[in-house]
């Protein structure tokens, strides 16, 4: 009733699944998209 939560990527799940390393280098990380199609 008092809090609304935006839908965001599940960080804990992404940690459990390991990183695939397919993403680009980033000059930025905040506005980068994941290149793993399974995301």
């Amino acid at each position: 009733k008092h809090i609304m939560t935006l839908e965001t990527r599940d960080m804990a799940k992404s940690y459990e699944n390991g990183g695939c390393g397919e993403c680009q280098t980033s000059c930025g990380i905040a506005n980068q998209k994941c290149e793993n199609k399974n995301n």
């Binding site: 990527r9 960080m11 992404s14 940690y15 990380i29 506005n31 980068q32 998209k33 994941c34 290149e35």
Partner: protein, 475 residues
Amino acid sequence: MIHQYKMNGYNIVLDVYSASIHVTDDLAYDAIHLIDTGLSEEEARAELKKAHPEASAQDLEDTFSDIDELIAKKKLFTTDVYEKAAGYLKKQSTVVKALCLLVAHTCNLNCSYCFASQGKFHGGEGLMTFETAKRAIDYLVENSGSRHNLEVDFFGGEPLVNFDVCKKTVEYARSIEKQHNKNFRFTLTTNGINLTDEVIEWANKECYNVVLSLDGRKEVNDRFRVDRGGHGSYDKIVPNFQKFVSKRGDKSYYMRGTFSHFNTDFTNDIFHMADDLGFSELSMEPVVTDPSSPSALTEDDLPTLYEQYEILAKDMIRREKDGKPITFYHYMIDLQHGPCVYKRVSGCGSGTEYMAVTAWGDLYPCHQFVNDPKYRLGDIWKGVERTDLRDEFKECNVYSRPECLKCWARMYCAGGCAANAYHATGDIHGVYEYGCKLFRKRMECALMLKIAEAEMQQNGEGVAMPHANAAAVRC
């Protein structure tokens, strides 16, 4: 760790480690703050009752019930368990993903604030030969493992001074793509002087992104961006950029300006590019220069800059509602499909996955380290010889910087720019604090924008979002 702030009528709570974003009413906002100060739930209830005498017992009950539910779902007050992820990607293997080709150590402009000293990178002038560029492409293929997508930036100096080599390099890379199962993504950063019809046609065919350098209003642009005779470049480059963008179709580009102490009202430059010149993909970056320079940004400038970032965010909401949206590089975050934890704590990739190649084939960690003898990694014929240096860059992440451990924004910047840190503190593991302050403000604005977007969507669906108070003004 959490971060709470109010902006544009929203009470915003970021849970740092789950990256969850919550919008609350005043009661929940204060309750979360009280719990964050270390009070027990019972103590927090008592304090909250004092602060909000108008709240009913049921309101208090519901508020703490909401908070407990989020804690149980691990979306609030989560802890940092990700240290092992730092460096994981880089330790798996050293795959090169991208090269920055400095095809021209010279420039047809003479901008005094240029980090690359007018393209010469504090050294001599020179152009990359096709043979060197070809070898750089081969080096990238040989060192990229099974990675399919490879990025190559044409950079300088002004890369279009050496356009013939850019063309031949792309032609060569395309000829070996299939054989090696690679897909080259070429990008170009240009000052626009040599943006001819031939270049436009080539860039629109071959470059998946193009950065166009323009500082905004004519008097702002022409203060720094001048030719060798001291003449401003605005009147030459703007028509070229407009022609380029008109033919760009749906392919990526963005205008990239630099603001300094002389134009801390930089939103006026962004709005000029959007409203008067017709560009919609925009970026304005703070100048990074010697603090003694008259153009250097100062601590006294910060309140103005913070205000400017908010003005921009609110104006972007208005434009979105008006059906004429613009983008701003730092506000383009993707909450659902953004980077995983491993990427968020690993750093940008400079010195490991990304390197700059000089016109003579030397390798440096990135374009901002070029010609610093301490940071020469090797060359494209012998490869990386300074593996100790590469290992040092592998360790560049949020956990290698003590200052970052207290920062709520670290899951969004991965420790920031190693080059800026080095130039500000003399250590790539240092922190460029001024840049951090601006980054945090930009992130607050970017998150607020995502909330406003969500609210616009929900308004269409008839769902109300909690907010600070009914009188709060929003765009």
